[in-house]
């Protein structure tokens, strides 16, 4: 199996720049807390991705998370590292094979499949050391970009 290189995102690189757009002005300690909160939002595979709203409509996507600000924060960090992915429709195609699914359950199903594939092929991102499947980081990026136009 060919390993894709792991994308490493270290927090100290974000120290000097403001991430107010993501809801945080990032000192390293605040940033670390945000990452941990986002990790909690993403949950553990096997557990529900959106424990508060599986039957909810999926738009706006940020409302599916218990707290979207830290998710947005990770997404912003990821996009800074991967600027060519800063396109909502392109991210949707990568994650869902087309437009954003209409319900939270649809998103969760697609992400679970993508996550299994990413983990099998070691398509990974680390944020401050936390290991994420690439699709999880891309989902955060989608939240950071705001809802894509249909």
């Amino acid at each position: 199996m060919d390993r894709a290189p792991v994308v490493n995102i270290a927090l100290d690189r974000s120290r000097e720049s403001s991430l107010r757009g993501a809801g945080f002005s990032a000192g390293p300690l605040v940033a670390r807390r945000a990452v941990m909160q986002a990790i909690a939002c993403l949950g553990i595979p096997g557990a529900r991705l959106f424990p508060i709203g599986e039957g909810k409509p999926a738009v706006p996507i940020s409302e599916l998370f218990a707290d979207a600000a830290p998710v947005r924060f990770i997404g912003t960090l990821y996009l800074r590292q991967q600027p060519d992915e800063a396109d909502g429709r392109r991210l949707c195609r990568a994650l869902f094979g087309g437009p954003l699914p209409r319900t939270a359950a649809g998103i969760a199903r697609s992400i679970a499949l993508r996550r299994a594939r990413d983990l099998k092929t070691a398509n990974l991102v680390t944020v401050d050391g936390w290991l994420l499947a690439r699709c999880e980081a891309q989902l955060c990026a989608l939240v950071a970009l705001g809802d894509p136009s249909p």
Partner: protein, 534 residues
């Protein structure tokens, strides 16, 4: 027969077919194996039956490289040697550990794993293990269903020797009763005498810290003093116009290795008492044998990613406020005859979590699993193989010990390969645990530093090895495949010092297996040699 050199006084040269220097795992294994062999064996040991500070101080030295506290606290200098504080974890080296791995300079043993397999089987008795059983049988008996790990990792099952399995304590009586084995306590090797060509050791001098020295003359000699002291003993044999025994190519003391141990990742789990803890943990079977289950790097992964070997266990951090934690604290206090001033509060906290305590007791009784407090967090703790490195070495310092002999100087060094192995291993484990739904890992940030700027933030394990490494060619090693020092026909080395590479396995089991192999070799060799003792 066991004697104390301090009480023997002056006397004639002691003669034996075989002189073993050092009564640790290797020396005691050799002596025990030769009981009733018809060969006269003299086993000399620097210490007595108990720890003595002035004897232990003979081990003092300096560490000038990575911190190697094992120099002083990792080794024990009395009968039984370092097995007097042995953790007891037993596992053989793997097939790949013996092979030449092109991506690891200086790798490869002059033997295969299959050459050592018969001796691994015999080593089980020495180490207090039961009859060998396939891992799948053991796991089934323990009621553990390991998860299907991906191709990069394998579930690792370790067996443990019974608690406090000191070779000195366990085999002392057998040696005391043996008519062909003479154990000399408080006997320190202070000098080799050789023939003019220095290819034959004619005798050695031993002496206690207080008392008269004695000469021992034997057909063969085996130095079994541990990897650091083995190298020191050879280096001390240098004379004004002659290199140290076995050091004609300057290899004695080089390639010093230890396993690198430490946290490579942390784990957060989805619930308080996760499934993972029921798999990666300690277990006791119906015969009260202890096992541990962890994870190791698959050989295919090592080859594909050009890494070293490595293994890992999960170390759980329990919730100190749980009822189980209180029950454990109360039990410890009562065992020590203490009555804590806050005992009432402790009992109250235990009662408030009675369900959890009862569940844990039931689990312990029905499955033999060790009690674990409700989980706060987990740590992934790895043992990483060290790559052979000629610059990681033992030399002699300018300080002198009580006999006026130069002390040891350890310069322990790591390379980028160990850090890269730890990084790959951490990512593989984190990925698998995430895939299996066990939890999410945070890789230690220093592992992800570009170009290894974070250094190698792992510590030592006191698994010293490599300083008189084994190689078929004298240009590549100090001893040959039979453990004979190249160029010295009757001098042998035993112990971790002969390991060319060290895999991830704790070394004692392999030390014992190699000592058994050496015992067979010496029986054959000495059967052809006229006995000095007659």
């Amino acid at each position: 027969m066991i004697e104390d050199l301090r009480h023997l006084g002056e006397g004639p040269t002691i003669e034996a077919d075989l002189c073993l220097i050092g009564a640790g795992a290797a020396g005691i294994t050799l002596a025990r194996e030769l009981i009733g062999s018809g060969l006269s064996v003299c086993l000399v040991e620097s210490g007595g039956f108990e720890f003595e500070p002035d004897v232990q101080a003979l081990y003092d030295g300096e560490s000038i490289g990575l911190p190697e506290h094992g120099l002083e606290i990792g080794r024990l200098r009395f009968f039984g040697g370092t097995t007097n504080h042995w953790g007891g974890r037993c596992t053989p080296l793997s097939d790949l550990d013996f092979a030449v791995r092109p991506w690891i300079p200086h790798s490869g043993w002059p033997m295969r794993r299959s050459d050592l397999d018969p001796y691994y089987r015999r080593a089980r008795q020495l180490c207090g293990l039961g009859e060998p059983r396939p891992a799948s049988t053991v796991l089934s008996a323990l009621g553990v269903s390991p998860p299907p790990l991906g191709s990069e990792l394998r579930v690792k099952l370790w067996e443990h020797a019974p608690e406090n399995w000191s070779f000195g304590r366990v085999w002392r009586q057998a040696l005391a009763q043996a008519t062909n084995v003479r154990v000399l306590l408080h006997a320190n090797l202070t000098r080799f005498s050789t023939n003019e060509d220095r290819n034959h050791v004619s005798s050695i001098a031993v002496r206690p810290l207080q008392g008269a020295p004695r000469e021992i003359r034997a057909s063969c000699y085996v130095i079994c003093c541990g990897a650091i002291e083995n190298a020191r003993m050879l280096l001390l044999s240098a004379e004004a116009r002659a290199p140290a025994l076995g050091n004609q190519h300057g290899l004695v003391g080089r390639f010093f290795m230890d396993h690198f141990r430490g946290r490579i990742a942390s784990l957060v789990t989805a619930d308080a008492q996760p499934e993972i803890e029921a798999i990666f943990n300690y277990f006791t079977d119906a015969d009260r044998r202890l096992y541990q289950i962890g994870i190791e790097l698959a050989p295919e992964m090592q080859s594909a990613e050009r890494t070293l070997n490595g293994c890992a266990v999960l170390d759980y951090e329990g919730d100190p406020n749980s009822g189980v934690a209180e029950a454990q604290a109360i039990w410890r206090d009562l065992q020590q005859g203490k009555w804590a001033p806050d005992m009432g509060e402790k009992v109250w906290r235990l009662l408030r979590d009675l369900d959890g305590v009862v569940a844990m007791v039931r689990r312990r009784l029905s499955t033999g699993r060790h009690p674990v407090m409700p989980l706060k967090a987990g740590m992934i703790v790895a043992d990483i193989e060290q790559a052979p490195n000629p610059d990681s070495r033992i030399s002699l310092s300018d300080e002198r010990d009580a006999f006026g002999q130069r002390r040891v100087c350890v310069d322990w060094r790591a390379s980028e390969l160990e850090r890269r192995t730890a990084d790959r291993f951490a990512v593989s484990i984190g990925t698998e645990l995430l895939r299996l739904g066990f939890g999410r890992c945070r890789i230690e940030p220093w592992l992800a530093e570009p170009r290894g700027e974070g250094g190698l933030q792992l510590g030592e394990t006191y698994h010293h090895a490599g300083t008189t490494r084994m190689a078929a060619d004298p240009h590549d090693g100090v001893v040959d495949a039979s453990c004979q020092v190249h160029g010295v026909e009757n001098l042998y080395m035993a112990g971790g010092s002969v390991f060319p590479t060290c895999g991830h396995a704790n070394p004692t089991f392999t030390i014992v297996a190699l000592a058994l192999k050496l015992a067979d070799h010496l029986k054959r060799k000495l059967a052809r040699t006229p006995s000095l003792a007659e």
